[in-house]
């Protein structure tokens, strides 16, 4: 018994160490650097003005962390996702759809599954509900 105790203690410590390590690896900090997937960061010299569709999109894509990305993409969609579902042109729809995909991805990275699923259903990329531009 006296010989087993150190082994058991070591094994327990090993298990505890791997549990913590695996747990840390599977979680994403809200301060994790954010890199957009569909959009690219605009060069400061060519960045469009805030308040415009393009400028607000570039501002959101330029978020520094996942937490900031949730805030900025949300703000972009609040300003530019048409409440009546009426888009101005293809450029408008492309940017709103891209913003939803970016935000959906950030939700999943943060473990906010319900929020991500809600957006996925709204975007409906497979048109399972015959989604046609309406929200």
């Amino acid at each position: 018994m006296s010989r087993l105790s150190p082994r058991l203690t070591f094994s327990a410590l090993l298990i505890a160490f791997f549990s913590v390590a695996c747990s840390s690896a599977s979680k994403v900090s809200v301060e994790t650097n954010y890199v957009p997937v569909l959009s690219t960061r605009a060069h400061p010299a060519t960045r469009a003005a805030r308040g415009t569709l393009k400028g607000d999109f570039e501002w959101a894509a330029d978020s520094f962390s996942l937490n900031e990305a949730v805030f900025r993409w949300g703000k972009f969609l609040k300003a530019h996702d048409p409440h009546d579902g009426e888009y101005g042109d293809g450029f408008h729809k492309l940017h709103v759809d891209a913003a939803k995909y970016e935000l959906m991805r950030v939700y999943y990275l943060l473990g906010r599954i319900d929020d991500g699923d809600r957006l996925l259903k709204q975007i409906d990329p497979l048109t399972l509900d015959h989604y046609r531009g309406t929200k």
Binding site: T40, G88, D89, F91, H92, H95, R132
Partner: protein
């Protein structure tokens, strides 16, 4: 037999202020050319081409200067002139890499009373414009004809009703002008003026065929 009809061409955007769903400008080319100026340029070229080949077709532009109109006002130009065709011209932009030519119509599910006619018109225009650009640049893409709720294509604003729907309407996104190759093709390259005339000629052909 002379081709007759009334065609309204809508150069997207314009001016400096957003007006009722119509932003002053969207895409910008790497050389700094604004989408609103390119749409007016192509629309004017189409108007000239139609005047030369189909003089009995009345062509009306929703704007001929750097001004913005609401989406409803643009469509109302078609309604007020009893137009047969309404074409809204735009250019696209996204991440400096995306390419292609696409056209849009209003969805049937959203009450488009002449969806099939609109789609047929859109397919005709998109096909010839894609071919015109493809002949100059094999890297362009056929993004097809899609549907979404577009304020400028609302039937009530175009003068279409379920009983009487004379106006076929679509919105054309010619190419992604934030791509350097497209900017060179349409704005800064040695053949830019010729390419724009070819695109306008292709649109003119499609409109004449649609009215025939």
């Amino acid at each position: 037999m002379a081709i007759k009809g009334i065609a309204v061409i809508d150069p997207g955007h314009g001016g400096t202020a957003n007006m009722g769903g119509s932003d002053a400008n969207h895409a910008v080319s790497p050389s700094g050319v604004l989408e609103k100026n390119m749409t007016l340029r192509i629309a004017t070229l189409v108007q000239g081409a139609l005047a030369a080949t189909a003089p009995e077709v009345t062509v009306i532009l929703t704007r001929s200067t750097d001004t913005n109109l609401t989406l409803e006002q643009r469509a109302n130009v078609a309604r007020d002139n009893h137009a047969d065709l309404f074409l809204s011209i735009h250019f696209n932009g996204f991440n400096g890499a995306a390419r292609g030519v696409e056209a849009w119509v209003r969805p049937k599910a959203d009450g488009n009373v002449n969806f099939d006619d609109d789609k047929s018109f859109a397919e005709r225009v998109q096909k010839v414009v894609f071919a015109a650009i493809k002949a100059r640049d094999p890297n362009t893409k056929d993004r097809g004809v899609k549907d979404m709720k577009l304020g400028v294509l609302t039937d009530a604003h175009l003068g279409n009703t379920a009983a009487n729907h004379p106006c076929r309407a679509c919105l054309l996104e010619i190419e992604f002008i934030d791509v350097l190759a497209v900017d060179q093709l349409l704005n800064t390259g040695p053949n830019a003026a010729v390419v724009c005339e070819e695109i306008a000629g292709a649109i003119e052909d499609a409109m004449v065929a649609e009215l025939s």
